[in-house]
Amino acid sequence: MVTLDPVSSRLPDAARGPAPSAWRSRRGLRQWLWGDWRSRLATCVLALVLVMAIAAPLIARYSPTAQDFIPFRGPSSAHWLGTDDLGRDVWSRLVYGARASIEAAGIAVCLALAIGVPIGLIAGFRGGWVDAVLMRIADTVLSFPGIILAIAITAVLGPGLVHSMLAVGIVFSPSIARLMRSQVLVTKERLYVDAAVSFGNPPSRTVARHIVPNSIQPVVIQATFMLGLAVIAEASLSFVGLGVQYPSPSFGGMLQSASQFISVHPFGVYPPGVAIALIVLAFNALGDSLRDVLDPLASTRRAARLAARASTRRGHRPEAPGGRHVPEGH
């Protein structure tokens, strides 16, 4: 009988990384949110935004809609980010605006997933005419410029934060559906799916236990990026007046009113503009780092890179990636 030596004990710790189990493990979570400086920064930014959104009444120093101050004031100890055209405190409006942004991103992405994942799953799994019909519908939605479609849908539903974000969710859903479909098409041909069928798994259980869990990861990564896009979409729709309604604060609305007075008070566009940019960058960075954690290939490359960097720092020449991970015969 051959000796069965555990292979993993001989691998460097980093090379054990391409963990499909990283999904659930604490190590994976830690690597996602705290793996390198980019993800740490992004986690901090988003944690801050989240705290601002949740504890807005505690953090804001004035009511976001109170306007008994002098307009167009610069930053001062009384008004950290100055005041806007109606004399409202910009810091307080920013804090409440974060709430609108987070809410908006959440609604839009959840709706996009709720519509896109089942459609992509059905199209990919059933194939044939079902696939053809569903994907033609998705193509039709995708062929409109996103913002125009969102404006049209909001015009029908009526303006407001929830309505405009439902519209954004609908606009996002076809790309989720296409991604899910392409993943399912690949996964359902895998041998382990055949094996699952051969034990007598009914189709519903095969889909739920094997196909969905092995197809969903890229969709989750895409959804993380979409959170950033949804923040922009919310700002854009509020900018044109279809999102959050006056006088409630939102980044887009603040940017819009500040841009009207840019010649009088140029500082006004910076607080909402920088806030949007920071949130979007943070979501993107977390999306990137989630992909590194979940995608086995990418994280093997990352492990090789880290190993190479570590050995150069010690004065050794970097080893060829992969060369050291080859297990010997057993």
Binding site: V2, P6, D194, A195, S198, F199, G200, N201, G329, H330
Partner: protein
């Protein structure tokens, strides 16, 4: 009635594939009939593209068949659907070619082996877990493997887990589709010995599919030789290698590597020459005639049927009686 007649019989089995962009159909399996007795090891050999794996998938009901029938112990498997099929298919289990692909990358060893047990609703959770350990021991792995993920194991270890999983439902027939081809030679021997001892212990029938005549001859009681989707010869292992009745079998035997220097070898029949013709456009008459050194005019005109010879062998060759073919040298 259980206990009488062959366990599994395939008769006139046909599996066709539609060729993309062409009107023709590829007859991957074109009228194959064979029987597997109780606790018999039936070997199936053939070159790539001869339809070996397609036959395995057809028997497993993973591939719809276009003609013929598959009968398991008197039950027509090919006519079953839904729940009735799921109940029957547990009696036939399969070990797939690629050990890496046939384990769900997101499952631990325990989850993988427990899955068929769970579907069979056999016993309590504790009983199932005990059975998992028992199965692992049976395939030469110890209890410490239960928590391992597929990616932390070597090919041989994974294939052992696959065998344990296939045995979990106590099948009557085990289909091994190139079960050792993806493994290193040293690991291969261990898996082959494992399969032999398990078969002896459990008295199950095995359909062992391989392109390697040496491996099949070592294991099988009877061997079927497949060429371009048709059986060329079916015979007891000893008589097949001692006295092949089909020119293709002779060629396969001659192509086997021999553990002796060429100067010490007796003159042998020329080994395999040329590529197999495409199964999409098989030659007229006998399919093997384009590579057969005994081919005559009749072989171009008439397709030989698989017919019994004295001594029990079945052969599809017009000239089977007159030819004196050389077998394996001792």
């Amino acid at each position: 009635m259980p206990g009488r007649g062959p366990l599994l019989s395939a008769s006139g089995l046909e599996v066709h594939f539609k060729l993309p962009g062409e009107s023709g159909r590829l007859r991957a399996v074109d009228g194959v009939s064979f029987e597997i007795g109780r606790s018999e090891i039936f070997g199936l050999i053939g070159e790539s593209g001869s339809g070996k794996s397609t036959i395995a998938r057809a028997i497993m009901c993973l591939e719809p068949i276009n003609g013929g029938q598959v009968t398991l112990d008197g039950t027509r498997l090919d006519q079953l659907r839904g729940k009735a099929l799921r109940r029957q298919r547990r009696r036939v289990q399969m070990v797939f070619q690629d050990p890496h692909e046939s384990l769900d990358p997101r499952m631990t060893v325990r989850q993988a082996i427990e899955e068929p047990l769970r579907l069979g609703r056999t016993g309590s959770r504790a009983a199932r877990r005990a059975r998992v350990v028992d199965l692992l021991n049976r395939v030469g792995l110890d209890e410490s493997y239960v928590g391992r993920m597929a990616y932390t194991m070597s090919g041989g270890q994974k294939q052992r887990v696959n065998i344990a999983r296939a045995l979990a439902l106590e099948p009557e027939l085990l289909v091994c589709d190139e079960a050792v081809s993806a493994l290193d030679v040293s690991v291969r021997a261990g898996i082959i010995n494992l399969l032999t001892s398990l078969q002896r212990e459990l008295q199950i029938s095995v359909l062992f599919i391989s392109h390697d005549l040496g491996v099949v001859a070592h294991l099988a009681d009877r061997i079927g030789v497949l060429y371009l989707g048709r059986l060329a010869e079916v015979s007891e292992t000893e008589s097949l290698s001692a006295r092949p009745r089909h020119p293709y079998t002779e060629m396969l035997l001659a192509a086997e590597p021999q553990p002796r220097p060429s100067s010490h070898r007796a003159a042998r029949a020329p080994s395999i020459s040329g590529e197999a013709p495409s199964a999409a456009r098989p030659p007229s008459g006998c399919r093997f005639r384009t590579r057969c050194r005994y081919a005559q005019e009749r072989c171009v005109q008439e397709e030989p049927a698989l017919r019994p010879l004295e001594g029990g062998a079945l052969v599809a060759c017009h000239r089977a009686e007159e030819l004196e073919l050389t077998g394996r040298r001792a």
